[in-house]
Symmetry: C3
Subunit: 447 residues, 3 copies
């Protein structure tokens, strides 16, 4: 398997001391911070027996674990197998796709538990964690996996870890602004995960623009088997997306509804993706790139509204539109982004997460603005939007406005953060590959 290859002149991709140093130091930092801050939440602590009595809980089945653990595991599979295998389509980057995704996600979930914990689960000096925190940490890392798709094959593992560190931090800040300050709903993360993740990643890849990337053009395609591996990723993302969008919704009807809406949206999305994939090729043949990616846009686009009363046919409409938008994006927009805007988007995340994420934010804003007590029921209305406390008097149309503001904030954070992080990643110290050795496992892996 040895092939002679000319290394890029100025590129030093030797990882032997840099990568271990970063991994070990950061992991030690995690241990110290966890030691200082992280403890079990009441439902995972051995004091639960006493807690139960105080909270008047009669059965262990009321423990949040049983409401959310199955969804958590589905989300977990999406992050590690879903994203990892989806990115395996490149002919010689399978190890990097699944391996680096594994690395950044394993680090990211730890850092996310801390960052999100400080913002959301901080009580008397400690971060108290339970299964919902694990889901949220996976969600946060999901946005990093999205961004990874844009720079796949063009970065070193150290760059990915640096990006994860910063992106998780910014994610937590953005999430705090949206959920706590703007009081916005976004259970499936159309804004916080997909819009933010995608435009963050696109900004980073813009800054890391490689004018001579065509030197590794022969490795940018897929081969038959790599496409089949990628379909494993696609299907697990597609099948488990109902769990993703419902995982942290309120117990009961909200989780139930979010799963149904997502199921419907995704089903519709497959049909329009197939339709446009065939329609936009001269020979009328289907393109695996579209099937692997655009079929998922329907899940992204109901991320905000799935737990609302979007209704099954509303979900079908959203899925219908997003299959088209996403497929058209792959055919027409991605080449233009590269040639005109110098955005080299390896996986086409703009089509799968960027535009559908924006659509998701907008659909969420509209659905919220259209909410009525009639549709939700008096109690259901208050519960769905959490119109209690200082938000008691907020009206649906105001909520719609805030939802829209959430999109703008997420975009702003993505562009600013992506520019900052892109700049950092451009420093010539992280061991990124030369143009002619991009998309090639050989650089960082024993093959």
């Amino acid at each position: 398997m040895e092939r002679p290859r000319r290394q890029g002149m100025a590129k030093n991709t030797y990882m032997r001391w840099r990568l271990p140093l970063v991994c070990l130091l950061w992991e030690v930092a995690m241990i110290v911070l966890f030691g200082v801050f992280v403890r079990f939440g009441p439902e995972a602590d051995a004091h639960w027996e006493e807690e139960k009595k105080q909270m008047n809980v009669t059965s262990d089945i009321e423990n949040d674990f049983y409401f959310r653990y199955p969804s958590f595991q589905d989300v977990h599979v999406m992050i590690f197998v879903g994203f990892g295998f989806l990115m395996m389509f490149l002919k010689r980057y399978g190890f990097g796709a699944v391996g680096f995704n594994f690395l950044l996600a394993a680090f990211g979930i730890q850092w996310a538990l801390l960052m999100q914990g400080w913002f959301h689960s901080f009580k008397t000096g400690k971060i108290l964690i339970g299964v919902e925190n694990l889901i949220n940490a996976d969600f946060c890392v999901g946005s990093v996996c999205v961004a990874f798709g844009a720079i796949l094959g063009k970065t070193s593992p150290i760059q990915l870890l640096v990006m994860t560190l910063f992106q998780v931090t910014l994610f937590a800040v953005n999430e705090y602004i949206l959920l706590n300050l703007l009081h916005v709903k976004d259970a499936g993360g159309s804004m916080t995960i997909h819009t933010f993740g995608a435009y963050f990643g696109l900004t980073v890849t813009r800054i890391l623009y490689r004018p001579n990337l065509d030197q590794s053009k022969d490795k940018q395609g897929s081969v038959y088997h790599s496409d089949l591996f990628a379909m494993i990723g696609t299907l697990y993302l597609w099948m488990y997306w109902p769990s993703f969008n419902s995982a942290i919704s309120e117990h009961g009807d909200a989780q139930h509804r979010a799963a149904i809406n997502t199921y419907c949206s995704l089903a519709a999305c497959v049909l329009t993706t197939m339709a446009f994939s065939s329609m936009l090729q001269k020979k009328g043949k289907l393109d695996m790139v579209h099937i692997q990616n655009a079929t998922l846009a329907g899940g992204v686009a109901v991320g905000t509204s799935a737990e609302m009363m979007l209704t099954p046919y509303g979900s079908l409409i959203v899925g219908f539109i997003c299959g088209i938008v996403s497929t058209v994006g792959y055919v027409y927009l991605t080449p233009v982004l590269e040639s005109r805007l110098h955005i080299q988007d390896t996986c086409g995340i703009h089509n799968l997460h960027g535009m559908p994420g924006l659509i998701g934010g907008i659909v969420g804003a509209i659905t919220a603005a259209a909410a009525t007590e009639d549709v939700y029921g008096k109690e259901g209305f208050i519960k769905a939007f959490d119109f209690t406390g200082s938000y008691k008097t907020r009206t649906p149309s105001v909520q719609g406005g805030f939802q829209a503001a959430g999109i703008v904030v997420s975009l702003a954070m993505a562009f600013a953060g992506g520019a900052l992080v892109g700049g950092i990643l451009k420093l010539p110290i992280w061991g990124d590959p030369a143009d002619e050795t991009c998309f090639e496992d050989d650089i960082y892996w024993e093959v």
Copy 2:
């Protein structure tokens, strides 16, 4: 990867306008019908808070979502990854196997939600859906996936969509006759899913008989890697089958029991499959075709009886027999079906779903007929067979008779429906491949 290839004379496999037209029109029809008919059921609707009070439900954990969602996700994986990857064994039809399965299932679940909804969940002019409907829609599509196995590689995606449209319709009618008119038990679908799906598919492939199919004989086999991909499908079907057979059983003991019985039957089936696979080959070597398929027959064959008091050893016996029947079928029956009856059964669904489905129906009839109040307990007996209302006086032996009638009805529907649909698919307008280009992704996919 370009190979010169002589296209069949009269065959026009150009999909560019036909496939998009069908996908888009049908999806629009789905949206309209969903808009008119489909709404959230009470447990997924935002009025749940009020519902809870009326139904005197004290905890959100009583929402059907928590009883069935984990099983739903397992079933979902079986339909999309299980069937999709199982059919990937052909050396050059991986895209078609997983991609067309994806397409037909995504359309089928929408149409099934409507068809089954009209029959089973229609209240005051609306179809009210919840997680159980999603499972049933997946089940219904499961029967289409079964039938797809018979015609795999020999049909265009449009033919598959047409078949799905009709088969889902007929499935819903058959299911209505069995469950509502005959008051038959069939939670895991030995009759409604497997027997119906298999003989429907076999009839279709009989009518689509291709005398010169040996022109693509070189592509009908597997290669090493395609067999490994297929094992992913096999294992997910095998592992999750306990969820399949228990997914829509009554809450509590019935779900629990169905999972245990299926687990036992499948375990026994693996051993007899291995035994006969080795025994029936001169060299005594194991054949991956048997391992991939016959090991699953035990799940099919307890589909009716798993929720009954079949008992663990009863399940072992069923699995024991079916591993043998199915493996013997692959070795001796499949070649005969092709040469004598002109039934070209690509995946051997007759061995995996046909015969085991029939056995499952029979085992179900016997198990029902043998039921006693002693074995089930007084209340359990009534609950297990729903001997309430107008069925209050039905005896086990009468129930056994009706169960047997269910097999006959399913077969009749399969043959009649299959003949009808086969005839429709024979029309020369659907873009099916020429004999020499069957089992080849190149026709419908950018490779």
Copy 3:
């Protein structure tokens, strides 16, 4: 695919009558024994309706099925896909890896239901089974899968079945000694599954030592695609390990806590594995062997303590250490074990299960010894260690001592049992392959 090959002189690998005979006879034995002994437990029996009243259970959701079924399915996936695919890394042994694992596990779970049933669920002459028994049977087979890793590619399917028969028996005895006689905690099986399984397998492979195994050296490596398949196994093991370690813990906080601890340990383990994988190679490149295996050591090593108050940072520390120990083991220890001790460990189970299992036992002993009423709460303390009845007066430090004794007993059982079984497997009647045809599917499979 036909290649001329010289068969080992004295080796007769013809399976045609031997394998079917063993499979069929043993399966008949299972049926008879299940018929005599195995019945549904109260929560899976149709008498559940009456049981509910007696036990004052008001809702079906209190059925153990709903507490444990999602975890059961995750464990099931780990055994069949996790182990099966992890062992697929060999270039020409994919069928054997996944197929033989399938065979031995399918037999093993039946025999384990009986063996464990006699020890733990035997009431009035019957073994009463429920979902927890299914999990325990899978666990027991997990230890056989571990041992299989040491002899992968060098044994016939009959040898594997014979080993399974004996190992399951010994597992059940060892488990009984630990859990019932020593009253030791080991929910995730650091001792019972991993330590026992690993050292049992290593002893067996030592006795089956093949001095001329280098004759099949060219087949001992992996190829690009086989490594990608193996990553499927790795990831499913990694993702579902929190379910593994929590599957049979007490309802409520214990399950919740076990999942969190395992999640943390595994995350940390990935980073130190990556660090040392890069650091220990001259070129600083990552080695897929380490990523596939050592990343999982963190799950093994919290198997005993995950349900205790190990705390998240404690888990990180354990994962941190085990990633290092395991990776170092692959680089330095495995070659030495082979050259000096004649232990040919195909998958390096000593690094993934042996040492981390021992660490897990030790961590469990320390965590138990360090337990206080302050940390656990008065009731939680008693519940966590089941200090009731005759164990009412046991103190944490005594418990720690018994935990440590559990390690010693497991090791002793493993060495003695492995020696016995290795001796049996050495008999020249089981059809094992010649040295030059090891690691080759061709011997036992139609390729």
